[in-house]
């Protein structure tokens, strides 16, 4: 089979930093090859370098052959002629890959304008055709709208449309389904599969092994700029050779069901809680019961109301109807000053740990502040307490004098967890705590949370959109859609026999790791 793209000994550096080191792989025509790696693996840099878009301060060595052209030694004009016409590109963060000031139609028509001599009317017709081919509903209306008027999934389809406008032989897709809901992701993957069947070769960049296994015939695993393993999808997933690959596969959540502890007395009880924002109902008559030592998972797509539910549980919002009780006493129905004394008993960790820290404070100050209210009046926080606190969450005492912004994402989340457990709470509300983390780090943080739950008898209200994660951490779960709980029950029972059509659709849409 002839290779469409051949990358040999590619190295890319930015000053003293080497982002990509001696990477080689090739893509046969009409095949889908995936580069898998976590953040910092160099996969996105590799993708951009193929198009010559690594950036002005990049030093590139090695060779990239497309058909019979050497891309590394091509003139800027030659590269510009190739871009969009022979090689299409869907960049990372595709939700912001459309100019917010222009209409979607104009953005898609751009490649036509640059590479062809079609008249504006002809371009317009072609744009509508393209939108139809990517499954965009109401293509004529959508073409005249701006990106912010489209949902995430539709925006992604528009981006793909603009990349395939001229039927390129190779499509480079960098994280095309990140930040998209499961049902929307399924649609995009179907679309990419259709493109592949029509003969477009795809270079798929992703951190998500399940997505990759659905589309790619070959996998290249990258870590810290180097290729650690490559081979056919079957081979890599069934018989991984490199320890890192094995780690990645093991870290995919949802493999093992949660082993919970027996239920204790109820700690948080919500009854008929409703919250409206203007005319929109965010949470509609939701009730739940969280018991001591258990994890209640709340799963749903964006806009389902799960974050609002978390905020109501923390009494950061007042419900318009219904109420929540904490340890059997009114929680949302009383004024704030009656809650202050009880607040240390219910804590929170968030998706973005860094923004929840005061940027002026060091880790030591953040944690000392957290230990403050729980400590007896007049007693000062000792260094020993701080050290034992950070060590309990798996950090070294040398993080204490540092600022959170110099720590890695995983370390930041550990600091957030340390802060949350410092006042010895009974309940912790976790709002998408691992969604921003790499898969391997995710697994470690989830293990930490699990250990802490056992040690302290904590109860968790765990909000997430990731079904794999929710299966791994929760004893019971709530499935939410449009503010309503559509299904509830013990986790394994719901996964084995989902009753509500939405739950079934959700479970079916999740890309599963095929081996």
């Amino acid at each position: 089979m002839t290779s469409l793209l051949t990358v040999q000994n590619l190295s890319v550096g930015f000053g003293p930093l080497t982002a990509v080191s001696d990477v080689s792989f090739d893509i046969p025509a009409g095949a889908c090859v995936a580069i898998v790696g976590e953040s910092g693996s160099g996969k996105s840099v590799t993708a951009r370098t193929i198009l010559g878009l690594a950036g002005r301060d990049a030093t590139v060595s090695g060779s990239i052959g497309f058909d019979d052209t050497d891309l590394t030694h091509s003139s800027p004009r030659r590269l510009r002629a190739l871009r969009g016409r022979d090689i299409g590109f869907v960049s990372q963060g595709a939700l912001v890959a459309l100019d917010p000031l222009r209409t979607v139609g104009h953005e898609i028509a751009d490649s036509l304008r640059v590479h062809t001599k079609l008249s504006p009317r002809q371009r317009q017709e072609r744009v509508i055709e393209l939108l139809e081919s990517v499954g965009m509903p109401e293509p004529m209306l959508r073409a005249s709208q701006r990106p912010d008027q489209l949902s995430g999934g539709l925006r992604q389809r528009a981006v793909i449309a603009s990349a395939i406008a001229l039927n390129p032989r190779l499509l480079i897709a960098d994280e095309p389904t990140t930040a998209l809901d499961a049902t929307v992701t399924a649609g995009i993957l179907d679309l990419l599969a259709t493109l592949r069947e029509r003969g477009t070769a795809i270079l798929l960049i992703s951190h998500d092994l399940a997505v990759v296994s659905r589309l790619a015939s070959h996998i290249v695993v990258m870590r810290a700029g180097v290729v650690v393993e490559s081979g056919s999808t079957q081979q890599v997933l069934r018989e991984p050779r490199h320890p890192y690959t094995r780690e990645l596969i093991a870290a995919v959540p949802g493999g093992l069901p949660h082993t919970g502890s027996p239920a204790g007395e109820p700690v948080v009880t919500a009854t008929g809680v409703t919250k409206r924002f203007g005319s929109r109902v965010a949470v509609d008559e939701v009730s739940y019961e969280l018991r001591r030592g258990r994890t209640l998972g709340v799963v749903g797509e964006s806009g389902s109301g799960k974050t609002t539910l978390a905020r109501l549980t923390l009494a950061l919002e007042r419900p318009d109807a219904g109420s929540i009780e904490l340890f059997g006493e009114p929680w949302t129905a009383v004024p704030e000053r009656d809650r202050t004394a009880r607040r240390p008993r219910i804590g929170a960790i968030y998706q973005d740990a860094l923004s929840s820290f005061d940027p002026r404070l060091t880790v030591r100050q953040i944690l000392a502040d957290a230990l403050g209210p729980a400590a007896e009046l007049g007693r000062r926080v000792t260094e020993a307490e701080l050290v034992s606190l950070v060590e309990r969450v798996g950090l070294n005492a040398n993080v204490l004098p540092r600022h959170p912004r110099v720590l890695s994402g995983g370390q930041q989340q550990r600091v957030a967890i340390a802060r949350a457990i410092a006042p010895r709470p009974d309940v912790i509300v976790c709002d998408e705590p691992v969604s921003n983390l790499d898969v391997s780090v995710q697994a470690q943080v989830l293990a930490l949370l699990d250990g802490l739950q056992r040690e302290f008898g904590l109860s968790y209200l765990f909000i997430t959109h990731d079904l794999g994660v929710v299966r791994q951490v929760s004893d019971e779960l709530l499935v939410m859609k449009d503010g309503v709980v559509v299904e509830r029950g013990e986790t394994e029972a719901v996964f084995a026999e989902p009753r509500h059509p939405f739950t079934r659709a959700l479970l079916a849409a999740v890309p599963k790791l095929r081996r």
Binding site: M140, L141, R146
Partner: protein
């Protein structure tokens, strides 16, 4: 892209909602303008009354003006200073609404006449300076986007220095350079374009510095954004990227500054017209202050406030044109 007939039902509903929100916005804006003008007028009304001493004296040139007793009595009658405060205020507002800004004692003619005569030259100066400033800022932005990091840093420093230079010093420096030194241009303003160059340049350079700084940030942000990367990946050339994408984003904050720029140009005109001996509102204002001619000063301030309100309203409209995201909100 024109909407075909098929999509009518969705659009008429959206259309009428949009029209209603435009109306609401326009009314709110108008209300705001009227409120501000009323507040400015009220503040100036009380400003005279707060001057230590006899308000009639203040109107006639201050405590040292040695106005005659008859003149003082006449002033008291004209301005109704003997009447209770409430009635004075109503008279004052009434006169303002009909466009009567009082009489300038130092020039012995109605304030409105004085302003009318001087408004033209000042507007000409302000507009030419604005044009030059925009062109300068654009050129600097274009150059920045194409050159390396070192050149961009130099450009940034130049902009900052330019924005910090006081008008009077810049005027002197320019006169020394172009007039005394090179002899290309006259040091004093003469009728015709030659006399406009140095004054306009003096006003334009600091403004260009400010505009340049503001545009630079959003320009760099835009050039590093994912949608520009996507444009380049489609084969768009560098100049295409600049003119079709980045520039529009860079212009948004610059347009937002238009109101402030107008104010800065008028303030600058005071100094510039004085140094270059150019007739205009600024020079009249300064003489008025020096002569303690309160009615004229107040009149000019009110007119400038009106102008400022006009400019900010126009700016808001322009903002919506350039940034369509603002259209569907409000």
């Amino acid at each position: 892209m024109a909407l075909p007939l098929g999509a009518t039902t969705t659009t008429t509903a959206a259309d009428s909602v949009r029209r209603r929100s435009w109306l609401r916005w326009a009314l709110a804006r108008l209300g705001g303008v009227v409120f501000v003008l009323w507040a400015v007028a009220t503040v100036t009304f009380f400003a005279i009354r707060l001057i230590p001493g006899d308000p009639a004296e203040a109107i006639l040139g201050g405590p040292g003006s040695q106005a005659s007793e008859e003149a003082l009595a006449q002033a008291r009658k004209d301005y109704g200073l003997d009447l209770p405060l409430g009635i004075q205020y109503l008279h004052y507002l009434g006169r303002l609404v009909t466009g009567d800004l009082g009489t300038s004692y130092s020039l012995r003619s109605p304030v409105t006449t004085v302003i009318g005569q001087n408004l033209g030259p000042t507007l000409l100066l302000a507009l030419s300076s604005l044009a030059i400033a925009v062109v300068l800022a654009l050129m600097l932005a274009l150059w920045s986007s194409r050159s390396g990091r070192a050149a961009a840093a130099v450009g940034s420093v130049l902009e900052i220095i330019a924005s910090a230079v006081p008008h009077f010093w810049l005027a002197i420096a320019l006169i020394l350079l172009f007039s005394t030194g090179l002899g290309w241009l006259p040091p004093v303003s003469v009728p015709g374009p030659a006399g406009l160059v140095l004054p306009a340049l003096t006003l334009a350079i600091p403004l260009a510095g400010f505009l340049g700084q503001v545009m630079r940030e959003s320009l760099l942000d835009a050039l590093a954004s994912p949608f520009v990367l996507a444009a380049r990946a489609r084969g768009e050339s560098e100049s295409g990227v600049f003119w079709r994408h980045a520039l529009r984003h860079a212009a948004i904050p610059a347009i937002g500054l238009a109101g402030w720029a107008f104010g800065s140009l008028i303030s600058g005109a005071v100094v510039v017209e004085t140094i270059f001996a150019r007739p205009g509102l600024g020079r009249s204002l300064l003489s008025a202050v020096q002569d303690r001619d309160v009615p004229l000063v107040l009149g000019v301030v009110l007119v400038v406030a009106v102008g400022y309100m006009l400019v900010t309203t126009l700016t808001d409209l322009a903002d919506r044109l350039v940034d369509p995201r603002l259209r569907s909100r409000s």
